[in-house]
Each structure stands twice: as C-alpha cells, then as structure tokens.
Assembly symmetry: C2
Homo-oligomer: 157 residues x 2
DNA sequence: ATTGGGAAAGAGAATCATTCTCAGTAAGGA
DNA sequence: TCCTTACTGAGAATGATTCTCTTTCCCAAT
C-alpha cells in the first residue's frame, strides 16, 4: 500500500478489489484530491490538481477513473446546469457523515451544501423509496435533491 | 393570434410579452410539440418533430428557443445523465396539474414520472424552502427530486 | 401604406466537455 | 520468468450546444 494517502486508502483498496479492479497510483491520486476538499470539482479541475503532483497523469485517465469511481460507488456525479459534471467523494463511512443536498444559484452557479432540516426529509424519502420500489419494481440506489434559485450576492445587483 | 395551436397560446403569448419577447411561429411550434407529449424530449427530438411540420425551422432556433422558454419559466430543463438535456412543459396552470418527479434507470435511461406519495413531500419542501431561503438569503425558484436505480426490465438480465 | 430599427431566424462554423482508439506499460498469477 | 489482462497517456474523434453572420420579420411611428 503506497504511502502518502489518507486512511481512506484501505477502504478504497477493498472496494476496488471487490469489483476486480486495481487501486493504481492515478486512482489513488484522484481519490486523494477529492478527499481533501468539500468543493464540487469538475473533471478538469481534478485533472489540474492531480497534475500538479503527478504531471504524467493524463486527462483521459481522469475521466476514465471518475467513471469507474462512480461505478463502484466511491463518488457521486452531479450536474448543476453549467455544462460540466461535478464530482464529490461519498463520505458516508466517515466519522462525521456530512449528508447534504445542494442549493444552486442559477446566475453565478455558486453551490451551497446544506445539511439543515434534513432529518424529516430522510425519513420521508426512506418511506417514499420503499413505496416506489414496490410499485415500479425499481431497485433504487440513490436520490438527489436540488434547489435552484438566486443567491444573496446575485440578488443585490 | 395564429390558428392551429392549443389554448395554451394565450398564456404563452402573455408570458412572452411580459418579458418583452414575441411569440413567433417557431416558438409556438416548439411549445406546441411539448404540449402534446408527456415524454422527456431532447433538443434534437424536438427539432425532428417541429421539422416535420415546419421544415424551415432550424436546430439553432430550437436551442435558442428552449433556452428562452426556460428563462420565462414555460418549460423545465432536466439532466438525466445521458449526455443530453431534456425538456418538459410546465403544466402548473392546467386543469389536472401533473406534479411529479422522476425515477431514472441508470442502465437503460428509462424515465418514469411518479406522482405518488408526493403530498407529504410538498409540505415538507415548502417548509424547507422557507427555512433555506431565510438562512442563506436565497430566492428559491424550484427544486428537483430524482431517484436513480435499476428498472424492473433491467434487473431481469 | 411605407419605412426604419430592433428582434428573431437559418445556416453553418466553432466550441468544449467527454469519449474513443491505439500502442505501449505495469502487475499479478502460473 | 513469462503471459495475460488491466491500465495508461496522447491525441484524435465525437456530439451536444453555442456562436457568428447575414437575412428576414414584425411593429410602431410617420
């Protein structure tokens, strides 16, 4: 197990092996970038970060890896409406699980994570999910909630 | 007011004028296509439909118009993760308001509108929206909820 | 009715995020 | 060590969307 990566590495490694994949250096580097931020990075932003430390890692690899990481449920992919996908590490196994949804400003594309008022919601969605699964025969894996609006800064213009 | 378009035309016309835009033939044609379906059409699918009746209407116009329609809140734009945007007429003023969310199959990209179990949700979101607005100074205009999973047909494979 | 000016449209080029191809490299098991 | 397969980097290709430019349309003032 290479050094210099956080404790997530063990988890990641296991997750990869379970799916028959290897946890290679580029993959660790990308996961590491994502684990060190709470921002919603695009593929290119991730590429730039990774590239600073490992200049040999190419953009294709970043895209390929991100797709893989979504597939093995280590990251989420989001669309906030600005034409590029955004990625977030899934932190559900961390000590302080930061369950959240997004508030998106349609003028400046700012994204705010909010965690408030979410307890009732989790309950409701658990119920809804069960009902929908039964009614439509779906195996539901996740849901997203996004609020769109105009942020305080943009309102004052 | 040109003939051959549904009763939405009056509403549409008013909405356009309010924003200083004109309700032209291509715009009506596009709204008309959207008003005749409950599917989630892509820009190109809309173009093909429109083009059957008005072959002179170009793809650029379709894109331009769709953007405009989103801006004046006559349609919603969605991303279901398959690389192209989808559009839906907003029917909130129709007799039978079909408020719904989406269930998306991540394997075959099938999208199901569901309207069940939504009453509790509307209440909850009204509250949440108010709270978030206050706390973050956002003027919230809309929210989306999407469930991702694997549909019955894809499970049996 | 005529006309002047801004809005809107059509065609095609340009853009840009993402995906694909291909040839080379690395890693783990026999 | 060898072999198979996963993985990679580079760059080309793709495809949805946006932009540019010229022409056309609509409306209001004359």
């Amino acid at each position: 197990m290479p050094r210099g990566f956080g404790k997530g590495a063990m988890l990641w490694h296991g997750r990869f092996r379970k799916h028959g994949y290897r946890l290679t250096l580029p993959r660790q580097a990308i996961l590491d970038v994502l684990s060190r931020t709470t921002k919603h990075l695009s593929a290119e932003e991730i590429y730039i970060e990774v590239h600073r430390i490992y200049p040999s890692i190419g953009l294709s690899t970043v895209y390929r890896t991100l797709e893989l990481l979504v597939q093995v449920s280590l990251i989420f992919k989001f669309d906030f409406g600005d034409g590029k996908a955004r990625y977030e590490l899934i932190r559900s196994l961390e000590r302080e699980y930061h369950y959240h949804h997004h508030l998106i400003c349609t003028q400046c594309n700012r994204v705010i994570d909010y965690t408030e008022f979410i307890k009732d919601e989790m309950e409701l969605f658990k119920k809804t999910e069960k009902n929908l699964s039964k009614k439509y025969g779906f195996k539901i894996n996740r849901h997203i909630v996004q609020f769109y609006g105009v942020c305080d800064k943009c309102i004052r213009r």
